[in-house]
């Protein structure tokens, strides 16, 4: 069934775009799962590439050294990453948010350094000889599966609790939400899907190198999530698609810009946070300068003056403060 679908897809998609689509699919899974932690739970996570690496190397080693089958290896990759998620999450998520950023960053570096120094992973020479068993239908299925699981999760009682943690952790705790347990759970689920994405990556590129999972990969994933919108799953799909395809497109049209894309990603993160911290489709209550400016204009226009006069932008996290101090 999957092979038949693959044959069909290959018959009308040229190999180059086929590869781009696979990469987009893998990035969508990574962005969706990162969005669960950063967008919905509000915890800045800077080591997502490390969970991907753990998944990729688990699958790669199982395939090359143990001869495990594809589906079993993919599942094992997700579980290994999830275990790593618990191990990292338990100590760090008990603490206030900003420590998590550094701890996940440090964790990412430790994973990279470890992969670089172990013998079994091939160290800096990388791991070769993984069979190519990922194909586009499998990736599409995995994307749909991830999307549906995460959607039902964020719409569940637990999802509401996660959003409550994002909006105000202390208040959430007061309402009886076990914040640490929920943060660790969201972190673990995200790690699981990142591990799956890593396994798909391994079975597609057939060669793994620690440098494919560095800090900058985590940053690119964060940029996808922020651009698409924190706390919106569809936003991550859009963000990952655009930010994976755009560099590919620019590589032929304007190679200099494609190569320097991190300059623009960095600027993009700053600009989005100032103008519209929700990204394209985000859902948090935070407002940026753009929204506040638009709201002011709206309330000043004569037709709505009376109706809107009492409705100054909500004085929540982002609101009132931006007025002339």
């Amino acid at each position: 069934m999957l092979d038949w679908a693959d044959g069909l897809l290959r018959s009308f998609i040229n190999p180059y775009y086929y590869g781009v689509l696979v990469t987009i699919g893998i990035n969508i899974i990574l962005a969706l799962s990162l969005n669960l932690v950063t967008g919905f739970t509000g915890q800045l996570h800077l080591g997502h590439a490390a969970f991907m690496a753990i998944g990729a190397y688990t699958a790669g080693l199982l395939a090359t050294k143990a001869g495990t089958g594809f589906w079993a290896a993919v599942l094992a990759a997700g579980l290994m990453a999830a275990v790593a998620g618990v191990i990292v999450g338990l100590p760090t998520l008990r603490l206030r948010g900003d420590y998590l950023a550094i701890a996940t960053l440090g964790f990412g570096e430790i994973v990279r350094i470890t992969l670089l120094n172990l013998d079994i992973t091939g160290g800096p020479f990388g791991l070769r000889g993984i069979p190519r068993q990922t194909n586009l239908p499998i990736v599409i299925l995995a994307v749909i599966f991830t999307f549906l699981v995460l959607r039902s999760l964020v719409n569940s009682r637990m999802g509401r609790a996660l959003i409550a943690i994002r909006e105000d952790e202390v208040a959430a705790q007061t309402m009886g939400i076990d914040t640490t347990r929920l943060k660790v759970t969201s972190f673990t689920v995200a790690a699981f899907f990142a591990g799956i994405a890593g396994a798909l990556f391994a079975y597609w590129f057939r060669y793994l190198n620690p440098s494919s999972f560095g800090f900058m990969v985590s940053i690119e994933l964060l940029a996808m999530v922020v651009f698409g919108g924190l706390g919106n799953l569809l936003g991550s799909v859009v963000g990952a698609s655009v930010m994976t395809y755009l560099p590919e497109l620019l590589r032929t049209v304007a190679p200099a810009i494609a190569e320097r894309r991190l300059v623009f990603y960095g600027a993009l993160l700053v600009i989005i946070m100032i103008l519209r911290p929700n990204g394209l489709l985000g859902t948090s209550s935070e407002q940026g300068w753009l929204e506040i400016w638009l709201a002011r204009r709206r309330s000043r226009s004569p037709a709505t003056t009376s109706a809107a006069s009492g409705q100054v932008p909500p004085a929540s996290t982002g609101g009132a403060g931006h007025g002339p101090a």
Binding site: L44, P91, D98, I102, A103, E109, R260, G266, L269, P277
Partner: protein, 296 residues
Amino acid sequence: MERGAHLFGQQLINGLVTGSTYALIALGYTMVYGVLQLINFAHGEIYMVGAFTGLLLVTQANLPFPLALLLAMAITALLGVTIEFIAYRPLRRSSRLSVLISAIGMSIFVQNVALWVWGPQTRRFLPPFPVHTFTVAGLRTNTLELLTLFVALVMMLGLHLLVTRTKLGKAMRAVAQDRETAALMGINVNRTIAFTFAIGSSLAAAAGVMVGMLFNAVVPNMGVMPGLKGFVAAVLGGIGSIPGAMVGGLVLGMAEVLGVALLSSQWRDAIAFAILILVLLYRPSGLLGRRTQEKV
């Protein structure tokens, strides 16, 4: 035994020198955290720009070293203030997540602009003064290492005096304690925060110039690891505490050289992060920090 003690002493000197540069970086993190409760991710990049500025002032402008060092510190201070103005000030009332993402964005931006402008190759940074090697009590050291220690000590002493004896220092402490009340007392909060960035950035620049010469290498991604380690040092000492940052830097430097001596140099960078996680687990307030209750 004799040889063991000798090796230990030699490592101690290395640890002291590296640790003092970590301490200089950690001070910037801890001061900014004190006034803004923000991890300034771009701090490592500020350190890198400091090293480049120093290198260019010495090699291109042929300035005498002390002048080049001071000028590099001043220029880098300006960069720190600019970063604060562009990336952090508009977000004064935003959620912590937004400011952190903005900080990460700024760090990536500065690093990649440097890569664009200066290229990825490593540049040599030979000290513009003769470097002599000394043997003190059987331990070898040189002019450069002693100068690094001296610079670090002078900066820390200067900072201590600034924070405890001047009006600006008083304002910084007041803003760190309670920003709103400080504003009510007539303190110009924005200016105080800008000054804090300027001072922290200039200390990082000094560290960058010294490390650039110690390793004879300056490269656009040189700020990443020291930036992270500076933060680890700040957390180790107790984030927000100035003496803590000094102690944290020295302890981290020592721990690293001892770790390398016991394990192997490949694991050097992992040691710092292992320390970070241990501190977060067992003593999140750090060596000299005070326990704080989160305010609502």
